[in-house]
């Protein structure tokens, strides 16, 4: 049975300092929601308020329509996986998994099947008698998730659970957590600063910055139609390019811009007055060196070339001194120090106004 979470004007203050500024959010039952944002944006604080580990300073937090602000953490029907795993080092894996159920006063006959079921789901049955120090990072992570599963919670919370793992294991655990979500069908809220994790795992991404929600949406919606420059820069890897530009003319169907010494016509109206400064955003993977793929953007002096095997990254500088990153498919023969011409498809260009909002 999946559960909904509703946040209404949620505020968090530490003394005089307000760190979460009135967050509104509706989490649909059964969704995998990822809170993403840079360090200090408030994503972990928000998660901890939902868990009941931090008091809520203002606003309402509802789970399945019931106000939870004053309900103790243990009675919210929530299980949480911590960044550090928070396994009890003096207990065996079995005891770690059983701790919550023993605390709830369940009998051994009820505890054992639940622990065994969780252990089977996570393939940790052979590890049950071991102590946490005898486990690898990935195994510890599984035990931490297992501890959440045995409690059969309404909502799973994950606080940067993969950040202590190496890159390969992180990819593997990412897949396993996504699979677990499909199998269990519970509402899951996951915090990360890694936008790749957010893009690959989420049904819905919540982008946070400075205690505000910048945008909520499906991963590709955020990628294709970022609401502002912050979201555009944060979502997508490598990061979106931003170039200084000037809006020259706008009419009902198109706009003319001057960018990096080039006049470019966009097939849509930009919401700004002619003559104003704007930011011209284009993702590295949407730039081509071939004239056939779009309009000429700028000549680029190649400063660095990275061959990744499946892609070639080119870092260059335009004639007016602005830097541009280009990501090309496959292995491209581009020499450092040479000059290439960047082309863009005008339909894939993003314009941001002076206040950062998409134009």
């Amino acid at each position: 049975m999946a559960t909904s979470v509703t946040l209404t004007k949620i505020v968090k203050r530490y003394g005089e300092v307000e760190v979460i500024h009135g967050v509104d959010l509706e989490i649909v039952p059964g969704q995998f929601v990822v809170f993403v944002g840079p360090s200090g944006c408030g994503k972990s604080t928000l998660l901890r308020m939902i868990a009941g580990l931090e008091p809520i300073s203002g606003g309402d937090m509802l789970i399945d329509g019931e106000r939870m602000n004053q309900v103790p953490a243990a009675r919210r029907g929530i299980a949480m996986v911590f960044q550090s795993y928070a396994l009890y080092p003096h207990m065996s894996v079995y005891k770690n998994l059983a701790f919550g159920l023993e605390t709830a006063g369940l009998k051994d006959a009820e505890i054992r099947p639940r622990v065994m079921r969780a252990a089977e789901i996570l393939r940790i049955v052979p590890l049950l008698e071991r102590k946490p120090k005898q486990l690898s990072g990935g195994q510890r992570q599984r035990v931490a998730i297992g501890r959440a599963i045995v409690r059969e919670p309404r909502i799973f919370l994950f606080d940067e659970p993969l950040s202590n793992l190496d890159a390969e294991l992180r990819v593997q655990m990412r897949v396993e957590i996504a699979k677990l979500h499909r199998e269990l069908g519970n509402t899951m809220i996951y915090v990360t600063h890694d936008q790749v994790e957010a893009m690959t795992m989420a049904d819905t991404i919540v982008v946070l910055n400075g205690g505000h929600v910048e945008q909520v949406g499906a991963p590709l919606d955020l990628y294709n139609a970022p609401r502002n420059k912050f979201v555009a820069g944060f979502i997508g890897s490598p990061k979106m390019n931003f170039l200084e530009a000037r809006l020259e003319a706008v009419d009902g169907v198109g706009s003319a811009l001057s960018v990096a010494g080039t006049r470019m016509i966009l097939p849509r109206a930009v919401r700004a007055t002619p003559g104003s400064s704007v930011q011209f955003g284009v993702r590295p993977e949407h730039i081509s060196l071939s004239e056939a793929d779009g309009l000429r953007l700028a000549d680029l002096r190649v400063d660095l070339v990275e061959q990744l095997g499946g892609a070639t990254m080119i870092y260059g500088t335009t004639a007016d001194g602005q830097t541009l990153t280009v990501s090309l498919d496959g292995q491209q023969d581009v020499a450092r120090g040479s000059t290439v011409t960047a082309h863009v498809d005008p339909r894939r260009v993003h314009i941001f106004l002076e206040d950062g909002a998409a134009g």
């Binding site: 580990l53 953490a73 299980a79 928070a86 080092p89 605390t103 709830a104 120090k133």
Partner: protein, 314 residues
């Protein structure tokens, strides 16, 4: 020709040796010079006297005449013909048995209370640590005498409730307890170590437990206590050794007699009497070595059992 060649080889080897020595001295000389005070202290004031006392424990020695070798006679006398040895053992073991657990419990209690993020923590920490700085001093032992005497502050306080208290330090039923209370009052040192240990326990362990619905008490005995066992172990060993070595309070409170009726005759006090009241240095040395063996056995036993109850994270 051959003899001259051999001589030149010897000279060359001598030069080589000298140069190796001088290189070694150049490289390490300063370090060894810095070590000299410690080496003098260790050999002259610790290891040397310890070995001499081991030798003396097999002799009769009164400081005036040459020591006379008596074999194991001192040790045999201790266990067969010395009721004061048995009495001092009883007193010392009682003191260790009660004062160490009580002091550790009290220290842990205060440390847990102080660890709850209260304001002015450094001040409280210093205030609670103060008795440990003063505790083993003669002045505090004298103060304790004033507190627990027949007309002392404790009885003045009890008189407010109509209770006529005994002279705690001259009553053999209570005198040892006054020393135990004095020892427990000096809980500052283990408390500071407990506090440091408590600080090492990650907060997310408690958060995970609170999400699991564990009460504060369950968190304490299921998480805090097991994770604190390395610190408890350390404190228990150190405090046990300290308790076996306790001397000053008993000496001051009983006026050096160990009375009344040997009720405060700590082992170290008895040892002192044998050495410096009766000048039986050989017998006193034997007593000292028995204490060393007892402390070593206790410490060894603690280490042996530690694998069953001390939880090390890694």
């Amino acid at each position: 020709m051959t003899a001259r060649a051999d001589a030149s080889i010897d000279i060359a080897a001598g030069r080589a040796n000298r140069s190796v020595l001088s290189r070694f001295w150049e490289r390490n000389g300063a370090g060894y010079m810095f070590l000299v005070p410690w080496l003098i202290g260790f050999f002259g004031l610790t290891l040397g006297p310890a070995l001499i006392s081991l030798y003396l424990s097999f002799t009769n020695f009164d400081l005036l005449r040459e020591p006379v070798w008596v074999g194991t006679a001192n040790y045999v006398r201790m266990v067969t013909a010395d009721p004061k040895f048995a009495a001092s053992m009883r007193v010392t073991f009682s003191f260790v048995l009660f004062s160490v657990p009580l002091k550790l419990c009290f220290a842990l209690l205060v440390a847990v209370a102080l660890n709850r993020g209260m304001r002015g923590l450094p001040l409280y920490r210093a205030v609670f640590y103060l008795p440990s700085l003063l505790g083993a001093s003669v002045a505090i032992a004298v103060l304790w005498r004033q507190l627990f005497a027949a007309d002392g502050l404790v009885n003045m306080f009890l008189a407010n409730f109509g209770i006529v208290g005994p002279s705690w330090i001259s009553n053999p039923n209570y005198s040892l307890w006054t020393l135990i209370v004095l020892s427990v009052w000096q809980f500052g040192s283990p408390m500071i170590i407990f506090l440091a240990g408590l600080r090492q326990i990650p907060a997310d362990m408690y958060e995970a437990a609170s999400l699991d619905g564990a009460s504060r008490w369950r968190q304490f005995y299921k998480i805090t206590l097991p994770l604190l066992t390395p610190v408890i172990f350390f404190n228990a060993v150190v405090q046990t050794i300290e308790a076996f070595k306790a001397f000053t309070p008993a000496f001051i409170i009983s006026g050096g007699t160990g009375g009344p009726i040997n009720s405060t005759l700590f082992y170290t006090l008895y040892l002192y009497q044998e050495a410096f009241a009766y000048f039986r240095m050989g017998y006193a040395s034997a007593l000292a070595w028995v204490l060393v063996v007892i402390v070593a056995l206790f410490t060894g036993f603690a280490f042996l059992t530690s694998k069953f109850w001390v939880h090390y994270d890694d």
